[in-house]
């Protein structure tokens, strides 16, 4: 996914003079050719994430379209006030593109993990959030984001589904059956495996913000499970608003709040949070039957 991001953004830099990239050392090597070609629009500020976001705000104030990139905890958690004030309060936008997700940095530890990034952005107004489940979905999301001035967050991860769904912007039914299970981004493959012999409808989206409320109202029939690759319950408010007035039970699955002080692989962390196929199956089956 990161390579797709680098390739697509490099193409955008050549095609659209409004495109700019602001980095804080992370991925600077990958952008080196683009930086040589567009030295005034590919900017590496060094290990200065507050400045990275402020610079993006300043670029946007002059009419450019900045793409801002780092590890999720440095991009979102660390520079939260810059996101709030130097983008939102100035009434300008940017495209924030993170890597690392909730626990790609499994061996790096909690300092390199951001399970709360989407929940942090939920405290702010006007953010579109994309969580692509496959590298094949990334380019189209980035190109669309380059074409306007709104605030967009693209959350890339190493965990990927086996298949891309370019039409995943709204809820897309993958398998028709009984009660609805919604999988966000890379949660689709483990959800499909977990529910292989369960009578459920599985729907997918790579765009949890804005959440497809209309799709939810049409598909949810009293019972609903939402599986997200960041903090469990992040979308609880959006689901409640979408289903307001409709009697329903809902189970929110995602990353736990308690820090897992272990290393290993992302698969190990998925298992620890009950987000592997076996863990998902147990909790989904308990809830629905």
């Amino acid at each position: 996914m990161r390579q797709t991001f680098v390739d697509t953004t490099t193409e955008l830099l050549a095609a659209d003079p409004r495109t700019a990239v602001v980095l804080a050392d992370i991925s600077a090597d990958a952008f080196a050719p683009a930086m040589r070609r567009h030295p005034e629009r590919v900017l590496n500020v060094g290990i200065r994430e507050q400045l990275m976001t402020s610079v993006a705000g300043g670029l946007a104030l002059t009419g450019l379209r900045p793409f801002v990139h780092s590890y999720a905890p440095f991009l979102v958690d660390r520079a939260y006030e810059q996101i709030k004030l130097d983008l939102g309060h100035q009434d300008v936008g940017a495209v924030l593109v993170s890597i690392g997700a909730s626990y790609d940095g499994s061996a790096e530890g909690y300092t390199h993990q951001s399970p709360g990034d989407v929940e942090l952005l939920d405290t702010l107004d006007g953010w579109t959030v994309h969580v692509p489940g496959h590298a094949g979905e990334v380019a189209a999301l980035l190109r669309a984001a380059a074409g306007h001035d709104d605030r967009v967050y693209v959350r890339l991860s190493e965990q990927e589904n086996s298949q891309a769904y370019p039409d995943g912007g709204r809820l897309r039914v993958i398998r028709q059956g009984g009660p609805l299970v919604v999988a966000v981004g890379p949660m689709l493959d483990p959800v499909l495996e977990a529910t292989r012999d369960l009578d459920v409808t599985v729907a997918y989206t790579n765009t949890p913000r804005p959440l497809d409320a209309e799709g939810l109202r049409l598909m949810a029939e009293g019972e609903l499970v939402l599986v997200e690759p960041y903090l469990a319950g992040t979308s609880a408010r959006q689901v409640a608003e979408a289903l307001n007035g409709i009697p329903h039970r809902v189970l929110h699955l995602g990353v736990g709040r308690a820090e897992v002080r272990r290393y290993g692989s992302w698969q190990d962390h998925a298992r620890a949070h009950g987000l592997d196929a076996a863990g998902l199956r147990t909790r989904i089956a308990e809830f629905l039957w």
Binding site: T53, V55, G58, H89, Q90
Partner: protein
Amino acid sequence: MTVTAPPADPLRPLIRRLTGDEKHDASSHSTLDVLWVLYDRVLRITPETADAPDRDRFLLSKGHGPAAYYAVLAAKGFFPAEWLDDLGGWDSPLGHHPDRVRIPGVEVGTGSLGHGLGLAVGVALGLRAQGEQARTFVLVGDAELDEGSNHEAIAYAAAIRLPLTAIVIDNQSATHGWPGGIAARFPGWDAALVDGRDREQIEYALVKPHHDRPNLVLAAVEPKWSNR
């Protein structure tokens, strides 16, 4: 220091209309002469060109105590002087910190300290990337320099030799001061120390061209707490 606000100064009656902002009174006046020189003699911007892509940019990073800023903008016709009578009111565009979305001529909304310098670096880079010759100025307070975000911007601007001008109003309001001097915190910058009440000195330092490095104008005014 010379006293440079004669009785006929058009700004004093305008500032007096801004009665709602007592808390930041001293700091609001510390910026008065610098702001007047900027808008009267330096910046290529008028109410008619407030949105022109090639206008000079001035960012007030130190957004608290904006009375002097509002008075200067009103004196220059960016908004009606009547607005000054309802500072912080429900129906007023003028808050105790400026909002760029509400006030013509205001480039950035500030209040939380330590945001303007980084934004100014981005603005200067954005103008340069688009071939604009417009200049970028940003005003910071000496106490505001406590915020670490400033030092990210100071170091990067020096490293890339970015020609923008930062004005630091020094009224000695930083709790722990700046032993060794404020200019020493701006390595790689040109630095000029001026009397923040001497409009000739201020103008000279602000219009001096700087093409290949950032420019610091350190404007000293009366200490915020005279009993220190």
